[in-house]
């Protein structure tokens, strides 16, 4: 069973969404619907599965419906039609009380512009989720302090958010989401408002934390590099439609349509593609010059061994962790994988 399952979800914004639903279902596009009825299509027949412990990145340009999608998971927005299952429970079937309980214990969220409470200190902000869970102040504070330390903000716990820089504020947001110790974390463009250096720093911090915690993370971004770096799977949204779901390599090597292709056109492939993806398996590797070989781990990115190949003008032997030869890479494979088609 998938951790999160979304089946045929539609979301239409406007005064009478249900009247327009048929039109959208019958295949009318976003612009056509807007022109004819004045309704905005937020999501158009979106179905996807997110497995436990993975980071699922949902990517698209502004207005593609990615923020709408993530808000469906904890029902900050209700779908017009469709089904959302979290751990097998239909979220739509929850009444107010159960929904509140669900939000308290199942999911936490990080926001683009941080969404911190300006009238609470860092400590109180981080402890907010715990406060909602009804945990005693003493225990709440000790957990909060732990998380503040984990994101590297010790010493700032009694400051107010307005006294912190953007990067620090988002760390508070992250700590707040971690504090409730929910299985699922929703991150809505969490790092988009930060400058590039701090963003990269935060990405690393998230990867490190995720390596320990193994949470199910749904991450929204419009930045392809970010999605390639963080995502186990990536879903690409365009005008409310999910155009492609796949691993980072899938997306880059086999873009589903022009839109995705335009998206991945400028990406640095050497940074994303691993040796094992492009290698020729041993049994197909006949007639390769094996006199001058470089040993390459199968999980290494092309970027890491490319300079060596260029300098020594040699072929690569790809090995797994035990040192068994899995395949070979020649200039031909490198050229093929790095050329923008």
């Amino acid at each position: 069973m998938s951790k999160i399952e979304i089946n045929n979800v539609y979301k239409i914004f406007g005064p009478k969404p249900h009247d327009v639903l048929e039109m959208v279902k019958s295949g009318s596009g976003k612009e056509e619907v807007l022109e004819k009825t004045g309704h905005t299509v937020g999501l158009d027949n979106v179905s996807l599965k997110i497995e436990e412990g993975e980071t699922f990145v949902c990517m698209g340009l502004s207005g593609s419906g990615k923020s709408t999608l993530i808000r469906h998971l904890n029902r900050l927005i209700d779908p017009t039609d469709g089904e959302i299952l979290v751990e097998g429970t239909n979220v739509m079937s929850l009444d107010t009380e159960k929904l509140i309980d669900f939000r308290r214990h199942k999911m936490s969220m990080v926001f683009q512009r941080f969404g911190l409470f300006p009238h609470k200190t860092v400590l109180q902000n981080v402890g907010y989720g715990l406060e909602m869970q009804g945990i005693e102040p003493e225990k709440r504070n000790s957990i909060s302090m732990e998380k503040i330390e984990a994101v590297g903000l010790s010493g700032f716990e009694n400051q107010f958010p307005s006294q912190l820089s953007g990067g620090m504020q988002q760390r508070v947001g992250l700590a707040r989401a971690l504090a409730t110790d929910t299985d699922i974390m929703l991150m809505d463009e969490a790092f988009s408002a930060l400058d590039p250096l701090i963003r990269s720093d935060m990405q690393k911090q998230l990867l490190d934390l995720q390596a320990q915690l193994k949470k199910t993370i749904v991450f929204i971004t419009h930045d392809l590099d970010e999605s390639l770096r963080l995502g186990d799977h990536i879903g690409i949204l365009n005008a409310g439609k999910l155009v492609q779901v796949g691993t980072p390599v899938d997306i880059i090597m086999n873009p589903a349509d022009d839109y995705v292709e335009a998206f991945v056109k400028d990406v640095n492939r050497a940074k994303v593609i691993k040796a094992k993806i492009i290698m020729k398996p041993v049994n197909e590797a006949n007639g390769i010059d094996k006199s001058n070989l470089i040993k390459v781990q199968e999980d290494q990115f092309i970027e890491e061994f490319l300079p060596q190949v260029v300098c020594t003008n040699s072929n690569c032997e790809v090995v797994d962790k035990q040192g068994n030869t899995k395949g070979y890479i020649t200039n031909k494979e490198l050229q093929h994988s790095l050329t923008k088609s």
């Binding site: 808000r71 904890n74 900050l76 509140i100 309980d101 669900f102 939000r103 308290r104 214990h105 999911m107 936490s108 969220m109 926001f111 683009q112 512009r113 941080f114 969404g115 911190l116 409470f117 300006p118 009238h119 907010y128 989720g129 909602m132 869970q133 400051q159 107010f160 307005s162 006294q163 707040r176 409730t180 929703l186």
Partner: protein, 343 residues
Amino acid sequence: MLKILKENKKQVFNLLLLFLFFYLLVMSYGASKYKPESVSELLNFTVWLNDWPKWLDLPLMNWINDWFKEFNEKYGIIFEVINNFLLGMVLGLKKILVKTPWPIVIILVTLLAYFSSGKKVGTTVFVFFCTFFIGFLHPRFWDKAIETTAIMLIGIFLCLIIGIPLGILISRSERFRNVLLPVLDTMQTIPSFCYLIPGIMLFGLGAVPAIIATFIYAVPPLVRLTDLGIRLVDKEVIEAADAFGASKKQKLLGVQLPLALPNIMQGINQCTMMALAMVVIASMIGTRGLGDEVLLGLQQLNVGRAAEAGIAIVLLAIVLDRITQAYGETLQERRAPAKKVKK
């Protein structure tokens, strides 16, 4: 049939309004004393096109008078109760303040200013002198100022306990807001004498109709600013509260109200100022206080007397304004301190 009604709500509503209009036309024509003698006169356009015809007159005045008379007879007892209750509060408050020796009152007001402004010396000294000058202008003013303050405080108290909940309500319900906003507009624009007269008839002369008038005049800004304050709270902050599973009550008390507080304090401040403006008008229906000094000056064409009383009212306004404003500012500072560079 019902379905057609539901689908064309707007048209049906407009049609009903049209019917109402014709009903009123027929009714007023029927009730008019100046009906034309014959139909031929009706058809003689030159007669009634020049001046507004006398028979085209909505007898709203009679309707209201009849209705009010009946209302007064039936429900007068309720207003008597309200009257006694409010009067008791005003008299009690006044008694305490008047019986306290004036230096002590000045000291108390100064202390209040000191603590509400977050121990700012400048504000405190300013408030002290303003308070002192109220009595210093004319010894009689002191007791009158206290009377005015007592009426105002009760009025503002009413505004608070009714205005803030109303503000919260309209911030939550679009429909309720659409209903209430025109009512608030009416309350603010209708000349105060229009409700002072029924006020006198229901409550008698004196302090209570003044309190009611103060309330009607001063509550709209408080309702509006409470509503505005709550709706201006950052949407993402509200989403954050929702996402972490705050219940409606937790969200209101823990997030929305605290963040709307600067605006609400502004509303209370506006409320106070408008209440004070009402004091002079209320003196015309026999409410004692600083306002009747102005009125006396007016009646005697005594410029100096009116000016003295006018200044005393302004001083009172300054004192109240400083105390409520300063309290709002202190709150804001405590909750969201100005950004400091910290390494």
